[in-house]
């Protein structure tokens, strides 16, 4: 029997390698989407059912049957927060900058960094967007890091990131750009080398194959003798980019009844 992947041509070399954009797609019979190291093919299987196949960078093939109510299948491809690969373990992200930023007393600064992303495939129906699949084009860079002590610290997704010039500097399908606003209210200068924050408070936005993440305000303060950091997300406003649906894998296994998981 012919394997599904071969049936849909996933094992063949693709003639063109022009990568697909983020955004909405309507499928009547068949659709092929290409991303770096990842290929997706969706094909009508029979009346009311589509077959979805994805080949990931390790050569593994994910296969799903997707029942749809109408004649067409609608999907949205969008960047999502990078918390799922290799497994969902945390809400925190640890960005280690490739350059140190020195803030003198009472100084403030604002700069842009690249922040990794994953890519979500959402099934659009009746104004709902349900997460159907997700993947990363850069699995070798998706790693964990620990901030603090093993018992009291925070487990984070860890990335070494460069500081970039403008909002368009994201590498398509691999990362987005986010703005960090720093303010130093300490009575001394301070070198900033990293930023650790819960990324689940932030939304992603996309246009074409570029992506942006909500900004982060970071204030260094001192209360009596304790120096501490205050962070707050800042929504991006007045941009004509599409807002990504949000999705992360559950950390807890849902309760099971009758073996349904």
């Amino acid at each position: 029997m012919e394997a599904s992947s071969d049936l849909l041509g996933l094992d063949r070399q693709s003639p063109s390698k022009e990568y697909s954009n983020y955004g909405g797609y309507e499928i009547e019979e068949e659709l092929e989407l290409f991303f770096p190291s990842v290929e997706i093919r969706i094909k009508r299987k029979d009346e009311g059912n589509f077959l979805y196949l994805r080949k990931d960078p390790e050569g593994e093939i994910a296969e799903k049957i997707v029942p749809v109510s109408g004649n067409k299948m609608k999907i949205e491809i969008a960047p999502i927060r990078p918390l799922n690969y290799p497994a969902r373990r945390t809400n925190f992200i640890y960005l280690k900058f490739d350059q140190e930023v020195f803030l003198s007393k009472n100084a403030s600064t604002s700069f842009l960094v690249r922040c990794p992303i994953e890519i979500g495939v959402f099934l659009v129906h009746d104004s709902h967007k349900d997460s159907m699949d997700w993947f990363t084009c850069d699995p070798s860079k998706s790693r964990f890091g620990l901030y603090g002590a093993p018992d009291t610290g925070k487990l984070c997704k860890f990335y070494k990131v460069p500081i970039v010039e403008n909002e368009q500097d994201s590498e398509p399908y691999h990362n987005c750009v986010m703005r960090l606003n720093f303010e130093n209210l300490l009575d001394r200068g301070y070198s900033v080398t990293r930023s650790i924050f819960p990324i689940t408070d932030h939304f992603l936005y996309y246009k074409g194959n570029k992506a942006q993440l909500d900004s982060l305000n970071v204030t260094l303060r001192k209360r009596i003798a304790v120096e501490y950091v205050e962070t707050a997300e800042l929504r991006l406003k007045n941009i004509d980019w599409g807002k990504s649906p949000s999705w992360e894998k559950d950390t807890e296994t849902p309760s099971m009844e009758m073996g349904l998981e």
Binding site: Y94, K96, S142, F144, G145, L146, P254, S255
Partner: protein
């Protein structure tokens, strides 16, 4: 009418308390209704509320609800039927002491169970190790008399609460991360720095659960009989032992094999003297 009928039936006395058939039937009905309500309440709790609570908390709350309702039912039974247990308590005093001595370990296990519930040395699902007893596995629950641990081979080990309470307990999953350590030897002729560089690159590239902060650490542990022994220390999320520990040594060996760095067999150089 039924009350009169039953009250005419013979009453009997136990330890100074008078019981009638009527009071016993009423008591039985109260207790049965109480047990039914307790079971229904526990079922509703388990179905609708327990799934959103941590597993260990859900189980304890379930027990509290169940036994709480049964205790209340018992109190209702004693007050409505007018049963006075003070006589029973006095009469049973001496007997209680005798039973107490006979069931010392039972009482000790019950009390240890209560202390374990208060202290909570581990949560349900935590990986625990009792080094003194050579037991390791996943903590299941604390029962009335014993604690259950599911060993990693899938079997359930029942440990008396008293023994568990007084044992050294190593909780393997209490911290966010754990460290794995393995040792690998390279030949004396090999470049140690080059070997460490190869090991580090390969581990960081191929082992997605190994933490990049703190980075893997490499220590020249020993100039051994046949090899220079290098310790590899890597951190990983506490849940992911199975994706790191069993494969770390294999990946390290393959990395050295791929670049032709020799992992020597134990060897001994023998100098043979000239025969007289």
């Amino acid at each position: 009418m039924f009350e009169e009928l039953f009250s005419q039936l013979q009453s009997f006395e136990i330890a100074g308390s008078t019981f009638s058939l009527y009071s016993l039937i009423v008591g039985a009905v109260i207790m049965l209704v109480g047990i039914a309500i307790a079971r229904i309440a526990r079922t509703i709790f388990n179905k609708y509320y327990a799934p959103v609570l941590p597993e260990h908390a859900a189980k304890n709350y379930g027990k509290m609800i169940y036994f709480g309702i049964i205790i209340i039912s018992f109190l209702v039974f004693t007050t409505t039927t007018g049963v006075d247990f003070s006589g029973l308590v006095v009469a049973g005093g001496i007997l209680g002491i005798v039973i107490g001595f006979a069931t010392q370990s039972v009482v000790s296990n019950v009390l240890s169970g209560i202390f374990l519930l208060i202290e909570k040395p581990a949560k349900q699902g935590d990986s625990v190790e009792l080094p003194d007893s050579n037991i390791s596995g996943s903590f299941v629950d604390v029962g009335t008399f014993s604690t259950r641990v599911r060993k990693f081979d899938g079997t359930i080990m029942r440990i008396p609460n008293e023994k568990f309470f007084t044992s050294n307990i190593r909780v393997l999953t209490d911290s966010l991360v754990r460290r794995q350590e393995v040792t690998i030897g390279i030949a004396y002729k090999e470049d140690i720095d080059a070997a460490i560089e190869v090991l580090k690159k390969t581990i960081m590239a191929r082992m997605s659960f190994v933490l990049h902060e703190p980075e893997p650490e490499f220590r020249v542990e020993e100039l051994g009989d046949s090899s220079v022994n290098i310790s590899i220390l890597v951190w990983y999320p506490k849940q992911d032992w199975g994706k790191v520990a069993p494969v770390l040594l294999k990946i390290a060996k393959n990395a050295l094999d791929d670049v032709g760095i020799e992992i020597p067999f134990p060897q001994r150089v023998i100098w043979k003297g000239d025969r007289p």
